[in-house]
């Protein structure tokens, strides 16, 4: 005999009243007997309940096996979400009851439990297939309508950005997996869900790590994800591969989306694929050759003439246009040096990893200290980049553009999380339309972002 103590829910039908005398006190209890074997005691739990168990002895039985299999696999997407969230069956039943599932079809808790168990089992059995989504379409075991397959896969690979932010840049190894319970505590995401998300990251990483061609497309091809989700995974894979440091306190204000944006920029400027998509190489790694060539940019700060000329050009362009002009004029050399040194250091893996922290420490923080606005930074960087082209002796235009393309956007992208008004802001800036499209967009973003700073 199992007696379950259920939370009192007014919607339960079929209740039965028992008047029981306990210690000369009349105590009223509400039983609802929903399925043989389970008695829900609704109102009061008496410490001497066992005395009354005899009342219901006749219902002694338990369900050994309960299976429902449809020719077309029935999947309730709400229950799927609960399963993905790592809830236990009983928790999921509670959630469903709270959501009013009992009102449908005259269900009772037992029916709901049975349905939830069954659904969870179905998902568990499908999980194996979800690990390689391309199989889901060709497997014969479950007949799942195509639109459901898409939802199944997409939802399975969706992740909490809070969780992703925690794992970002870490090695997707067993060690990290062991720390998941900490992350689970910190983020409030169930450990089960954390594990699923982590395993997803790892699985995607393993598959695309060695593949040639564009990263996002590879992910989409192998995991049938939507474009946005595939981009996010590309960012995760990229960060995990290059192991960028993101955990420092100074970087804590950056969200996953900020980093994902940066990753997008890095992929499109600094990898081999960025220059030649036909190249038989992958997007996952930064281009070694390019990083080496970045050393050549040192000439911008080492050659005094060039640096002065550069400063004059930038100042001429910015004069009267920014409020912090004076400070900029004073600090130009420091800023320029910071940016160029950053570039020249990138030959060392360690420095590549510290790219973001360095950017924040060496460039963003000084600017912030001087109370630059975002617009000012953008304008500065735009002219700073363009002015270098006008330097007659500067021969590394290509490298420079590739480098600055990322710097311009990525150092500012951290503010993407404030970007709700992005569209509004961008529309009244027609001046940039003359620039070539990709740069154009980046600039727009920059302008906006820097404004927000």
């Amino acid at each position: 005999m199992q007696i379950r103590y259920a939370v009192f829910t007014p919607i339960l039908c079929r209740t039965q009243r028992f008047n029981c005398a306990i210690n000369n006190t009349r105590l009223q209890m509400l039983f609802t007997q929903t399925v043989p074997g389970a008695i829900y005691l609704l109102a009061t739990v008496s410490p001497r309940l066992d005395r009354y168990i005899t009342l219901v002895k006749a219902y002694k039985m338990s369900m050994e096996l309960d299976v429902f299999v449809g020719n077309t696999t029935i999947m309730d997407m709400e229950v799927y979400q609960l399963w993905l969230d790592g809830l236990t069956v009983s928790d999921a039943v509670k959630v469903r009851m709270d959501e009013g599932a009992l009102l449908e079809c005259e269900a009772n808790p037992e029916v709901l439990t049975s349905d939830t168990m069954d659904q969870f089992r179905t998902f568990q059995m499908c999980e194996r297939l979800l690990h390689s989504p391309t199989k889901l379409g060709s497997q014969l075991l479950y007949q799942i309508p195509a639109q459901n397959q898409i939802i199944l896969i997409e939802r399975y690979y969706e992740f909490d950005s809070v969780f992703a932010r925690e794992v970002l840049g870490k090695k997707l190894s067993k060690g990290t997996k062991k720390d998941l319970d900490d992350i689970s505590c910190k983020t409030g995401i169930t450990l089960k869900s954390c594990r699923r998300q982590f395993d997803n990251f790892k699985r995607v990483f393993k598959v695309v790590e060695e593949l040639k061609g564009p990263l996002v497309e590879n992910i989409q091809r192998h995991f049938l994800l939507s474009d946005t989700l595939a981009r996010d995974y590309a960012a995760i894979v990229f960060f995990a591969n290059s192991r960028f440091e993101t955990g420092k306190r100074k970087l804590q204000y950056l969200s996953f989306q900020d980093f994902a944006f940066c990753a997008g920029q890095l992929i499109s400027y600094w990898t081999i694929g960025a220059m030649d998509s036909m190249m038989e190489d992958m997007d996952v790694d930064l281009e070694k050759e390019f990083l080496n060539e970045l050393k050549d940019l040192k000439v911008l700060v080492n050659d005094k003439d060039m640096m002065d000329q550069h400063k004059i050009l930038v100042c001429a362009a910015l004069r009267g246009k920014i409020k912090v002009y004076k400070l900029m004029e004073v600090n130009f050399k420091n800023l320029s040096r910071a940016l160029v040194n950053l570039a020249s250091k990138l030959t060392h893996t360690k420095d590549v990893r510290d790219l973001f922290i360095d950017l924040v420490e060496k460039f963003i923080e000084p600017c912030r200290y001087d109370r630059w606005t975002v617009a000012e930074i953008t304008l500065f960087l735009t002219h700073y980049t363009n002015a270098a082209h006008c330097l007659g002796t500067f021969r590394h235009q290509m490298i420079w553009d590739r480098y600055m393309g990322v710097i311009k956007s990525s150092q500012c992208s951290p503010l993407l999380h404030l970007s709700l008004i992005k569209v509004n802001y961008l529309s009244p800036t027609p001046s940039i339309s003359s620039v070539s499209p990709p740069v154009n967009i980046l600039n727009e973003l920059n302008t906006f972002l820097i404004c927000k700073l």
Partner: protein, 1074 residues
């Protein structure tokens, strides 16, 4: 060498990793047929091997082709140790042997292993070159088509219905052979699978031979079962109905549009044209129809069962035996009544006529449940017989005499029951067994009926004229019979031609002054000329032409009886003694529930009795309907045993009130509003038609009754006498059946009367539950309660699961109960949920009404339908109001239950069967896909972009809003799955869940490989589940069958004409075939 089988192994995919080191597999394939084996090359290091082998050719006898499956084994090559088996695929090549079915098998098959389940897929191509063999003495029967469908398949017409065919083969069960002790579970399972595959192939071949001998070319309603008798062996038996089928060519369909068999949906359209269509004999080259047809010949001695001989059984009991016949409600239980002495000479003439045709056969049985119009003349009632046997080891597998004799005995009994009911045939016939240890209960049941003898003769299905020409009977007799019928009931000719009320089938076939059991007869509410019973029980589907008021619903009677544990003979005797009481109680329950729903007929009745070591389970399921031709059912009257104190009376009256309320509520729910006013117009000779209103009053109605019914003065309301414990149960169970949630209907027949506008959304499912009783000392009441709750809860879960399909109807709800072990109850359900469109229901009804009205008689019914349709619209609003009421009823009934007040005894005063009135207008309501209304959105259309062919499955013989264009052959598969890591596979539920999913997948794959896109008449005949949680082991056996078909979706344009014209009898046939 009459056949060459060719197989080609193309590729594999998703193979399991067999080599842990490389995470890859070196796979190769063995192809085996009979004793010949071929191998492909090893395709190294791949999970998706591309073998692309040559064609492996097997030159074999066609006998082997029929018996043997093609066996494909996928293995992992291992240089140092033995090759590991990955799994197997068994392909039944029977569909390739019939010229009309599939021509090639090509597709991806799941590779199945009895221990690991599905492990990857393999792409195979199979072809057969068949050389015709016209040898008269051949042992093969290639070309005979088999159908599980229990009606004439959609794209065929029945030129001739020959009758019953049966066969059984026995063998030792490999699981119980000595060798099983030393071989692996896998080897044992595979031996078993292979053996059963062989046996069912052999069985089909033998049945095919019988069919050829009878002159037929097909078996319809083929029902094959396995009896796992444990130690004593393995029996595979099959029954079916031999027919000569002609394929309908879609183009010519318009010419033959008058043919009734094109679709049972259009049964109504009895040919107005007298055009005689010659059966096409030349279709099948091997088909020996040019030989003078001998459909009536008894089976030749070679295949006839051995003479009836007393078997060595220790105990034998049939339900007809000594139960109180006057109380036994079972139709056909009156075996003592002689048929010969009818009063009406005309009836006698007819009977003789029909008998002469049928009695030449050993068993005039038909496994069909749906018939061409005019086939059924009268229905007597349900006949059933059970017999308890003690199993003994099968000594000689080649001479299955004992089993044959057992069945022979049962069939004889059924035949005599039918005779007692004045019927010469049994339709909707089925057989089943239940085995527990060495006790085996054999059951057979069917519906006694009078058939139109013309259908048994050559080429006479089309028109009356042809049968005279082709008939072997003296023409005089023929004419006589027709004349007789014309006087006795509405003539066949009449209803063949102008389709006047076809209420004939509910008219009593037996003599009213010499009834086999007490019954309450009234004049037919439709034709007013013939007597009909007040209640009609049948095992067949609702005839398409039947006029039904309101909707139907599933009615279940459930019963549990404890039994002392015993061995051998004692056990068998105990069971025999219990059986009649169980049947009686099940019947009483059915009757009560029927009355409670205000219905008067049961269709598709299926009574299952299952034996366990210490209990017997009985489950009767049927679909209740209100047949317009039968009298309105009386209410239920509760009577106390003695005039006692006031509170007792009060209790009785509250109970009575509750029952009355429930009846009223059910009338609303099922839309049952008997057309009283209309009857007035007709000038009914029956004064007590208000009974439907006054059903509470016993005295009143009995007065009325005595007026009308000369033979029986007692009764109207059904009286339940409260005088003992059991009755409390019965009343409670009567009232605690939960109503269905809004938007759901359920039935166990093919279709639900009253619902016409199916959408194409459908979901077939199987649900299995096993309950463990934790307390062995349960009383009968306790058990009953548990069992009832169990079924009710299962239904509730199904409703909840399928709530996304609302409004929908669960059709063909087929419950199977078993007692796999002591204290375990297993319930398995297979059904299909079909959604329908509420909005168009009204439109359809209106169209139907418009269509009718050709004559006055029909007009009345159109009015009736009109009322029905409007009320069906009101229904959604009416229902919610009804529901709280029912909830109240439950709680209050429980109140009473908790006080454990009175003990009731339920006593049936009179239990009878009724009859059905049919009208041509009702045919228009036939809810089959062909007449479905247009432009319904398919709510759940499956995506076609998926690389895997979507295969629909349904236990019904049709798919709504589609047209079956080709039958590809029968699917009959048997699987065993075993595990030694039960916990790891998710426990028993996880294990069975994946196994059932695997079975579905394999069925779908086979259908797809045959080129089909659906399985109709799907059924899971066996699901034996055994577990041993302590050893972490479980084993399950599943047997499924069905017909693989190709269907095409009815386009909207095509669907419009049926809607408009479905009322016109002449075009309905065309709709069925276009």
């Amino acid at each position: 060498m009459p056949g060459k089988l060719k197989a080609k192994i193309v590729a594999g995919r998703h193979l399991p990793v067999m080599d842990r080191a490389s995470d890859l597999t070196d796979a190769f394939v063995e192809v085996k047929f009979g004793n010949t084996t071929f191998k492909t090359d090893v395709y190294p290091k791949s999970l998706n091997p591309q073998w692309n082998s040559e064609w492996f050719k097997f030159e074999v006898d066609d006998e082997d082709l029929q018996d043997e499956p093609l066996q494909i084994t996928v293995l992992d090559h291992d240089t140092y140790s033995a090759n590991d088996a990955i799994g197997k695929v068994y392909i039944d090549i029977d569909p390739l042997l019939s010229s009309e079915a599939a021509t090639v098998i090509s597709g991806w098959f799941p590779i199945y292993d009895t221990i690991h389940g599905i492990r990857g897929e393999i792409n195979v191509l199979v072809k057969v070159d068949l050389f015709n063999d016209l040898n008269r003495f051949r042992q093969s029967s290639c070309g005979v088509k088999f159908f599980c469908t229990t009606s004439i398949p959609r794209c065929y017409r029945a030129a001739l219905v020959h009758g019953f065919v049966e066969e059984l083969v026995v063998n030792e069960d490999p699981e119980y052979q000595w060798i099983d002790r030393i071989r692996t579970p896998r080897a044992s399972n595979e031996a078993r699978q292979r053996l059963i595959s062989l046996m069912s192939g052999e069985l089909q071949r033998k049945i095919g031979l019988k069919v050829l001998e009878m002159g037929g070319n097909a078996v319809v309603g083929y029902l094959q079962c396995f009896d796992l008798e444990g130690e004593s062996g393995l029996v595979v038996r099959a029954i079916g109905t031999a027919c000569t089928l002609d394929k309908l060519i879609p183009g010519s369909a318009s010419n033959t549009n008058t043919h009734p068999n094109t679709a049972p949906a259009s049964n109504a359209c009895n040919s107005p044209s007298k055009e005689i269509k010659e059966p096409v004999f030349s279709e099948d080259p091997t088909h020996p129809l040019s030989v003078p047809p001998t459909p009536l010949r008894t089976l030749p001695s070679s295949s006839s069962p051995p003479p009836f001989s007393p078997s060595k059984l220790c105990s034998r009991q049939s339900s007809s035996s000594d139960t109180d016949l006057s109380l036994t409600p079972k139709m056909g239980m009156g075996s003592g009544i002689s048929v010969g002495k009818e009063a009406g000479p005309l009836k006698t003439l007819l009977r003789q006529q029909a008998q002469s045709a049928l009695e030449q056969r050993e068993f005039p049985f038909f496994t069909l449940t749906c018939f061409p119009p005019g086939f059924l003349v009268h229905i007597g009632g349900v006949v059933s017989a059970r017999s308890v046997k003690l199993l003994d080891r099968i000594h000689n597998p080649d001479e299955p005499e004992t089993r044959d004799a057992w069945w022979e005995e049962i069939r004889q009994e059924i035949k005599s029951h039918a005779k007692a009911l004045g019927c010469h045939a049994v339709v909707g016939y089925s057989e089943s067994t239940t085995i527990c240890e060495e006790v085996c209960i054999l059951s057979a049941s069917g519906t006694a009926a009078m058939l139109n003898p013309r259908f048994m003769r050559e080429g006479c299905l089309d028109a009356g004229g042809s049968d005279q020409r082709l008939s072997r009977q003296p023409p005089l007799g023929m004419v006589g019979s027709e004349r007789a019928e014309g006087e006795v009931s509405s003539s066949w000719l009449g209803f063949d031609d102008a389709s006047p009320p076809s209420c004939g089938f509910c008219h009593i076939p037996y003599d009213e002054f010499n009834m086999p059991f007490p019954a309450q007869l009234t004049y037919c509410y439709h034709c007013r000329r013939q007597k009909v019973p007040d209640v009609l029980f049948t095992t067949i589907d609702l005839p398409a032409e039947a006029a039904v008021t309101g909707k139907g619903c599933l009615i279940q009677a459930r019963l549990c009886r404890t039994k002392k544990k015993a061995q051998g003979e004692v056990n068998a005797t105990a069971i025999s003694n219990l059986l009649p009481f169980m049947e009686y109680e099940l019947h009483t329950q059915l009757m009560n529930k029927l009355k409670l729903r205000c219905m008067n007929a049961l269709f598709g009745l299926r009574i299952q009795i299952s034996v366990g070591e210490n209990m017997l389970l009985g489950l009767a399921s049927a679909t209740g309907v209100y047949l317009s031709a039968l009298p309105a059912p009386g209410g239920i009257q509760i009577a106390g045993k003695t005039p006692s104190d006031l509170s007792y009376d009060q209790h009785i009256s509250t109970m009575q009130k509750r029952i009355n309320d429930t009846i009223a509520m059910n009338k609303e729910l099922y839309n049952i509003h008997p057309p009283e006013c209309i009857e007035e117009v007709v000038g009914s000779p029956i004064p007590d038609r208000q009974r439907s209103r006054l059903f509470r009053s016993t005295s009143e109605s009995s007065d009325e009754l005595s007026e009308l019914d000369l033979s029986h003065g007692k009764k109207d309301a059904f009286v339940l006498e409260i005088d003992d414990t059991d009755a409390v149960e019965d009343i409670q169970s009567l009232l605690t059946d939960a109503p269905m949630p809004a938007g759901f209907y359920s039935c166990n027949t093919e279709v639900m009367p009253g619902i016409y506008n199916w959408t194409s959304g459908l979901q077939m499912f199987t649900s299995v539950r096993v309950y463990r009783l934790n307390n062995a000392n349960l009383t009968n009441q306790g058990l009953n309660k548990i069992f009832t709750d169990l079924c009710e809860n299962l239904l509730k879960s199904l409703y909840f699961k399928l709530r996304s399909m609302i409004p929908c109807c669960l059709c063909h709800l087929n419950f199977t109960v078993a007692v796999p072990e002591e204290e375990l109850i297993q319930v398995a359900v297979t059904a299909v949920a079909m959604s329908f469109d509420k909005e168009t229901q009204l439109a359809a009804d209106k169209a139907l009404n418009k269509g009718s009205g050709e004559n006055e008689e029909q007009l009345q019914f159109s009015m009736e339908l009109c009322g029905e349709s409007t009320s069906s619209n009101n229904q959604p609003t009416a229902k919610p109001s009804g529901l709280p009421e029912s909830a109240m009823t439950h709680s209050s009934s429980r109140d009473r239950c908790s006080t454990w007040l009175e003990l009731l005894r339920l006593k049936a005063h009179t239990i009878r069967r009724g009859s059905v009135k049919t009208t041509s207008s009702s045919e228009r309501c036939s809810p089959l896909p062909e007449v479905r209304s247009r432009s319904l959105r398919s709510t759940r259309s499956l995506p076609c972009g998926a690389p895997v062919t979507v295969v629909k499955m349904t236990p019904l013989s049709f798919l709504p809003r589609t047209r079956i264009v080709k039958y590809l052959g029968i699917i009959n598969m048997f699987f065993i799955r075993e595990t030694t890591s039960l916990r790891e596979e998710g426990g028993v539920s996880g294990f069975l869940h994946s196994f059932i999913a695997e079975v579905f997948a394999m069925v779908r794959a086979h259908v797809a490989a045959l080129g089909g896109n659906a399985v109709v008449s799907y059924s899971m005949k066996e699901c034996v589940f055994m577990e041993n949680p302590n050893k972490n082991q479980a084993q399950c056996l599943i047997n499924v069958s069905g017909d693989a078909v190709i269907f095409v979706r009815e386009s909207d344009q095509e669907a419009i004409p049926p809607l408009i014209t479905c009322g016109q009898t002449s075009t309905t046939g065309a709709d069925g075939t276009t």
